[in-house]
């Protein structure tokens, strides 16, 4: 039996994993099993499984499966589905719908809340904050809570945002 991961070396290590109460078996070579610290195997399974189910879901509606490859690197959706790897940053917008569905399912969220590159960080953080404030403002207005609304409007004004910055 060949290693399931590299499909090159003989599988000498036989692992069992419990995912959601179900047992899955992995047959790997020494190299692939022993020292792999990074991608947890179980997660890879879930991820690949999701890609496949996404494909069968959209298979009935062929118009919805992205048929145009990524304009920058030429990666097709089929290629992405089989490897699980994207070809460049432009693949993200190219397959946005599928990737967002995947994020929701596998990651539980589509929105990055962590670190920002410094060079875009300040602007980005201010935009985010303003977005949140605008939502709160709208909620306050809808609830006819004018005291809060006025306070939020003042904060937004004080942030002194350039006029082109608008909520999406």
């Amino acid at each position: 039996m060949l290693c399931q991961k590299c499909k090159k070396n003989p599988a000498t290590v036989h692992m069992q994993q419990f995912i959601g109460g179900n047992k899955t078996e992995m047959h790997l070579c020494q190299e692939c099993s022993a020292i792999k610290m990074d991608m947890p195997i179980s997660f890879e399974h879930i991820f690949k499984g999701f890609l496949t189910s996404l494909q069968s879901m959209t298979a009935n509606r062929p118009t919805q499966t992205p048929s145009t490859p990524c304009g920058r690197c030429g990666m097709t959706y089929e290629q992405f589905k089989s490897s699980g790897k994207l070809g460049c940053e432009a693949c993200y917008p190219a397959f946005a719908k599928e990737i967002e569905a995947l994020f929701k399912n596998v990651q539980g969220s589509t929105r990055h809340e962590g670190k920002f590159p410094q060079r875009m960080g300040v602007d980005m953080r201010v935009r985010r904050e303003a977005d949140t404030l605008r939502i709160q403002l709208k909620e306050a207005v809808d609830a006819e809570n004018y005291e809060d609304a006025a306070r939020l409007r003042d904060i937004l004004r004080a942030m002194n945002l350039p006029s082109e910055v608008k909520s999406p």
Binding site: Q107, G108, H112
Partner: protein, 343 residues
């Protein structure tokens, strides 16, 4: 940045948590990702990032550039066994780069699955420190180079399972009692539900060799780095509570049996003539317990137990021997190495 590698520090033997590890995945905007990158592109990219981290005249001499192609197979394997590189990285055919700090605790793989894989390890329970060290390298790269970053999705990675923070935080943790009492089956689904995963590091069969596990976050979106780390810490605490319950039960009702196992393990490590990695790992796990809970009245070796576990792996043995060895030869060499330490 100078000092000893994490595995050579006594704190790795002072509790269930051996080490704390942070990995950040990043890509440059300019280049296609790994799958679509060609050899000349890869070569330029590797040079560019290496230059950003350790410019030749910057005095940042603490990062050593390793020329992977010029390293022998055994030497390469030792990096694998130290978890500094991945098997994929060693198998790669395109130009790659590896930067390692003086103390070996911070390393950067260039052109693995992502352009940049920063890894930072600290001995014991120290994820925050590990994150700080990883962030320093991250900031250094970002000073001169532009990352692929999306305002909604965050850092863009080759695999969408890393998108967002690109962060994988993990503990290496010794859980011999949970393993022995077969409680993982019950525990794992609950852990997975919280976006955390637990698995053996040296997996073989249903057990992990030597009772050493890695517990890490699975999800990288929707949470800050701090929140991801906190969730991991909380889950690790829970796992350790289970481990401690199992331990108290075993040491309470079966203390004599436990002591017997530990002393027998010590005896085999000290006197065997031929030993497999699997057996040695499991015996070292017993001996580690013995020292940790004062059950073994023998002088503790100056080397940390995990360091010994690492040095009995094939790459390390072959590197010391200076030649290729088949499995049987390695089993003899392993026993000789262990006798020197324990006999």
């Amino acid at each position: 940045m100078s000092g000893r590698p994490w595995f050579a520090q006594p704190i790795t033997d002072e509790g269930p948590i051996l080490s704390s590890r942070i990995r950040l995945a990043r890509n440059l905007r300019k280049y296609p990702f790994h799958q679509k990158l060609n050899a000349p592109g890869a070569a330029t990219m590797v040079q560019e990032i290496a230059g950003a981290i350790a410019p030749p005249d910057s005095g940042r001499g603490f990062f050593h550039k390793m020329d992977m192609q010029s390293l022998g197979e055994a030497e390469q394997k030792t990096f694998l066994e130290k978890h500094i590189v991945s098997p994929e990285f060693l198998r790669g055919t395109l130009p790659r780069g590896l930067l390692i700090s003086d103390d070996q605790n911070v390393s950067v793989m260039l052109n693995e699955e992502d352009h940049v894989r920063i890894q930072s390890v600290q001995p014991g329970d120290a994820l925050a420190e590990a994150l700080t060290a990883a962030n320093q390298v991250d900031d250094l790269i970002e000073e001169t180079l532009e990352y692929a970053f999306h305002s909604e999705y965050g850092y863009l990675t080759a695999c969408p399972t890393n998108t967002g923070t690109g962060l994988r935080a993990s503990y290496m943790i010794h859980l011999p009692f949970l393993e022995r009492t077969d409680q993982f089956k019950a525990l794992l689904p609950a852990i997975t539900k919280f976006g955390i995963t637990l698995r053996g590091i040296y997996g073989e069969g249903t057990e992990s060799m030597g009772g050493i596990y890695q517990i890490s976050n699975q999800t990288t979106l929707g949470k800050t780095e701090g929140e991801i780390i906190e969730a991991l810490q909380n889950m690790t605490k829970k796992v350790m509570e289970h481990e401690n319950q199992a331990r108290d039960k075993m040491l309470g009702a079966h203390r004599a049996d436990q002591e017997n196992m530990i002393y027998r393990a010590y005896g085999v490590l000290a006197y065997s003539r031929k030993i497999t990695a699997k057996e040695a790992m499991d015996l070292l796990s017993e001996v580690r317990l013995g020292y940790l809970y004062g059950l073994l009245d023998k002088a503790k070796p100056t080397k940390q137990i995990y360091q010994i576990m690492m040095e009995i792996q094939p790459g390390h043995l072959q590197r010391v021997a200076g030649r290729e060895m088949d499995e049987a030869e390695r089993d003899y060499a392993r026993a000789a190495y262990l006798r020197e330490i324990f006999c």
